[in-house]
Symmetry: C2
Subunit: 351 residues, 2 copies
């Protein structure tokens, strides 16, 4: 009985690639496992052999399969990062922080932008899983969707949730402390002498907004105060802010309100715009307004906005470090890291 | 003579994955090619068979190899896009445009951010090639590096250069007409009654800057004029603009210059800042200043800046459409598409 044997781990010619590792080995006059070593463990191969194999690879136009290579090498050298909204500078900061940490560890970051759409989140998780990344960092708006993804995913590496807090020990999360951010915003208005504060939030279903409101309440309570008004517009965009601003203007003009904490810069920008159109009300002289996010809306406003800045780069960096720690250590214990925001003071709260 | 046969296209158990397509086939009681059809050509398979195969896939935790799947299916469903600088909103716009076009075509876009570093450009081209994208869209600062990448790359799909113009018929490019943008900026200052214009550029090695200057010269020549001054600072950042602004201030105060075209918003913002610190010079009353890019610096400036906006989304969309056209059609002829920018008028050039 005769049988054709193939070297272990070799790809059969024509199966997928047209050109396989055995062709490269044949042309270079080495074994397929030597080719594999050139691709994955160069330190084990003599320089002259490396050169011969690389010339064969080039002549044949052989494309090493990244997925197979990464598994052979033990660990993929890339990390997947799915972002909710590239148009929001917070997510750009997260990407930059993740890239910086990955660079230091000799890893690459592959990005995808879901625009917050569930279908795209699913599609990109699958796509990045199929390209065998070492693990996935996901910024999602909805923790329950993360749990669905985690239950369904075939990703073998870590799945880490960014920008949402969850502390049930089933995966790592890195989030920004929104409650602390709300407290900082209110404390800043109190420190500039305002006492009659309104909080402008958004739908209660948004956990970050609810957390910011809790922080505002806490800071006010510490000063023996309570919010004069809490308003929950339908959404947190500029137009919502403008409507709220129109509504609040008479109360501000009457001296009932002297400070406004808005749950987003877009809301704050809309509020300031509505107030600028109201004769007799000046920002910051009559009312201080502080936003949240430190994005374009804060600079772009008629009066530059004080705001709460989120540590996006630190969030991305921390995510990458947790991912690598988890993928390197089977006994890793999941962590829920919370980072602190800071206040950026601009004209809208000057005193 | 006996020989063991394997179905064509089947992956051997244990070779890479632990679980292979033959395990799935065995458990589902179908042939490996039926499993392949379920993954790639569902329309050829009966519903009951699909269900059986999918249950087997789930039970075994089989991960179809995206790369192999895409090659079996004829075309990968993902496109790679390497961006030079995610911190620049132009590139975010390019990504969003590419995603919109890809969505319409049922494709996904995987992103990577090179931060303009050659080593990262190389690394991401290789990484995305190994994950078998359908083709690559690259925004690079340097055409010669693109040619090096094209010569060296094992990417079999299209390579398309974004944001740099090249018209030698060897690949498709999509760029924004910087010469037209420079001409638009100068024409806007002329239309608002300015006649004594200065152009503030940057190093001559930056092709976009040289093109913008050529456009300024052309617009002035059409009006029978020439630039009063052309200044080439070392780079195009805010600090460079501030130094130029200090230098130009006496000539502006003397009435020698009444309009400035700056080759970037950062330059323009620095210039306006230096002028704001000079007693007796008001922007826009004494001098109109227009920037280029329409980014944060334009909104953030002490006087909001008029600027030239680049059609980033259209650029990304066009890139995806060219990539798909090229990968679908072997007789495709390479195109060099140039898109037109527009002027955005803000306070800094009001009259």
């Amino acid at each position: 009985m005769t049988s054709a044997t193939t070297a272990p781990g070799a790809t059969k010619r024509g199966a997928v690639d047209g050109v396989g590792i055995t062709d490269v080995a044949a042309l270079a006059g080495v074994s397929p496992s030597t080719v594999s070593n050139v691709l994955n463990h160069r330190e084990r191969v003599a320089a002259a052999t490396i050169e011969r194999v690389e010339r064969a690879i080039e002549l044949l136009g052989y494309v090493p399969n990244g997925a197979a290579r990464s598994l052979v090498a033990g660990h993929s050298r890339s990390i997947g990062l799915v972002l909710s909204d590239l148009g929001n500078s917070l997510f750009v900061d997260i990407a930059r922080g993740a890239e910086r940490a990955a660079d230091e560890l000799g890893l690459s970051v592959v990005l995808a932008n879901s625009d917050g759409r569930l279908e795209r989140e699913d599609r990109y998780v699958e796509l990045l899983t199929e390209s065998r990344v070492r693990g996935l960092l996901l910024t999602l708006n909805d923790e329950s969707h993360f749990r669905e993804i985690a239950a369904r995913s075939r990703q073998r590496g870590p799945l880490i949730l960014l920008n949402l807090h969850a502390d049930d020990g089933r995966f790592c999360t890195v989030s920004i402390d929104n409650e602390a951010g709300g407290a900082l915003a209110a404390a800043h208005l109190l420190a500039t002498g305002r006492r009659r504060l309104a909080f402008v939030g958004g739908p209660d279903s948004l956990q970050p907004i609810a957390d910011r409101r809790a922080g505002v309440r806490r800071a006010l309570a510490s000063a023996g105060l309570a919010a004069v008004a809490e308003i929950g517009p339908e959404w947190i965009n500029r137009a919502d802010g403008w409507q709220v601003g129109r509504m609040l203007a008479p109360r501000i003009a009457a001296g009932e309100i002297d400070g406004v904490v808005a749950a987003s810069d877009l809301l704050a920008a809309g509020i300031v715009q509505a107030l600028a159109e109201t004769p007799g009300i000046r920002v910051p002289e009559d009312v201080g307004v502080i936003g949240y996010d430190n994005n374009q809306a804060a600079w772009d406003a008629p009066v530059p906005l004080s705001t709460v800045a989120q540590p996006g780069e630190a969030l991305g960096e921390t995510g990458v470090r947790l991912l690598v720690a988890e993928s390197d250590d089977p006994t890793h214990r999941h962590q829920a890291v919370r980072l602190d925001p800071t206040v950026v003071v601009r004209r809208s709260t000057e005193r």
